[in-house]
Subunit: 339 residues, 2 copies
DNA sequence: CTGAAAGCGCTTACAG
DNA sequence: CTGAAAGCGCTTACAG
């Protein structure tokens, strides 16, 4: 590794001041075009690497945006991230990613690290049990936060997510329309807003159709493929013999269908199954999964835009921005056939 | 946002020097225990946030490690990342993540950004066509690189990946042992080392068993579930009527099995299918996927360790470190039954 | 055990 | 259109 090249190296080699070099490299019109070209040329020739820490120390803007979600390995979050990434990419921001795995400590640790690095802002899907102080820590230190997918109670931050209650009612109504009356709800937990809202939407839809709500038909807990897979055993042992399952999300639904298939039944014929999210793989599951599009790409795109707008000084309205979900009908649901 | 708290704020409020505060906060034994406690107490009380940019400007170490892979949404990379993350977490390093989607430009852009931020090192699964200059850019600027999952030709960097040729021969031999003779290879591309090595391993295994190698039985290209799904149509139309498929990875295999099922055939009975990687979901696929464990968690863990060791000054040997793959037999493969 | 001072590599008024 | 100088917030010899 050769001698470190810095602004002053370029300046000296060209007999100009560092101020001129700094301005030239950032395309300032204050520098004569000829000088600017000469400087850029030299910078390239010397293999100059811009030192962002030094610049950011001076300007107190780092170009770093933090993103923290439950688990990036979860395709639901991965799809949101992809949208955030492509939005940030075109604005020359760098993003730092972290999982919190619903650990409030890990999440706070990330926020602190981000503050230490001088992060400009943070996009997060808050961990279960996030105290408002942790988010205020960011805001109070000049690092605005935008929430995605989940809300935090009593905190009026800009939040982007799908309308869960409405969305799950679409799925439930679809099954009711097919003649199903004994419909289980599989997965989700009351500890998250999505868990509560989706269960509530399911309950509302049943009530509206005058179908009695049986709490024993709720198999709460599962939130992964593995969880859905295991829940199938529980489902098949229910004395009420449900003919359909509204799953909390696509992962649960796909695992659940696999579980049903392992037991020798055919999802989409013997048992109707709906998912939620419309992940890319919902379409190529066997059978194709009937599900609810939850707008991950919209959520990510809008959240990133909202943050960038905020950073450039425009005052976005705080509060909830709900994406309207849409039904996607495939082969995993079918009219009830009585045997 | 109140007045910015910095080292000197704490120092003044306590009537000590910034040097003492700096040392105390980093638990230096040079500072008397009582002073140290008083300083830490005050730092907490004032809500002091350590400015890493300033520190890193001074020390020229940032605590930042970059990780760039093809696509973090791909569970294969996600599993590697998880292992890297848990290894780095315990060493108080922050990691910055990026996808390159096999774009050499995007990858170089990331390396440059990382250099600007003063990254201490980088772990990467290089994009297809990565020129050695891009990796030398990192190394020459004092940022060591470790490769995972893929190699770059003519470049002797520490590399951690599975022994692809050996691993795929395990899968191929397993099928041969079950009586299959017309075995297709589905997916993968000659543009990556994994694509070349796995095809070669398949060819070698066939040759060793005196089975003629038919190039038409290679369906090259697919690398995703979607790709595997679509390849099933091609596979079923082959005049040679293969009875088994060695898939390039689990994603292809799972998509492929779905495609087979859509056509009314039953994978694991009508057609035997093997995967590669042993992703978490291989076990819960229907049928359970026979596959080859590729040691993602080991790859991630060892690569992270190697980088940390290098950063702390120990001179690790460069070159290839191959993880030995292992067979995982499940229900997607069965003895050939002649009809 | 503690303090005064220099310096990391930028950017930004300010002056010319 | 260009330059001299201060300062962002730390850490690290050095001195005492």
């Amino acid at each position: 590794m050769a001698q470190k090249i810095k602004l002053s190296t370029i300046a000296e080699s060209l007999g100009v001041s560092t101020a001129t070099v700094s301005l030239a490299l950032r395309d300032s019109p204050l520098v004569a075009a000829a000088t600017r070209e000469k400087i850029k040329e030299q910078s390239r020739a010397l293999g100059y690497i811009y030192n962002r820490r030094a610049a950011s120390l001076r300007t107190s803007r780092s170009g770093i945006i933090g993103v923290v979600v439950h688990d990036i390995q979860n395709p639901f979050y991965a799809e949101i991230l992809k949208a955030i990434e492509s939005e940030l990419d075109r604005s020359s921001h760098t993003f730092i990613l972290s999982n919190h795995y619903d650990s409030v400590d890990k999440q706070r640790n990330f926020i602190e690290t981000l503050l230490q690095l001088g992060g400009d802002g943070v996009i997060m899907s808050p961990a279960i049990g996030t105290p408002r102080e942790d988010l205020e820590l960011a805001e109070n230190n000049g690092m605005p936060a935008i929430l995605v997918a989940r809300s935090v109670e009593n905190l009026d931050l800009p939040t982007y997510r799908g309308d869960d209650s409405y969305g799950i009612s679409l799925a439930t109504n679809h099954l009711i329309g097919l003649g199903h009356r004994t419909i289980a709800m599989v997965g989700g937990t009351d500890q998250t807003s999505t868990g509560r809202d989706r269960y509530q939407g399911y309950v509302n839809a049943l009530k509206k159709a005058n179908i009695p709500v049986d709490p024993a038909l709720r198999i709460a807990g599962p939130r992964s493929k593995q969880g859905g897979f295991e829940a199938a055993v529980h489902f098949l042992s229910l004395p009420q013999k449900p003919t359909a399952a509204v799953c909390w999300n696509d992962l649960v639904a796909i695992g659940f269908m696999n579980g049903i298939a392992r037991a020798g039944l055919m999802p989409g014929r013997d048992i109707s199954v709906t998912g939620y999210d419309d992940l890319e793989e919902a379409a190529i599951a066997t059978p194709g999964l009937t599900t609810v599009w939850n707008g991950q790409s919209e959520v990510g795109r809008l959240a990133a835009r909202a943050l960038l707008d905020k950073l450039s000084g425009s005052h976005e309205p705080d509060g909830m921005h709900l994406i309207k979900p849409e039904m996607r009908i495939r082969q995993s649901t079918a009219p009830l056939h009585r045997t």
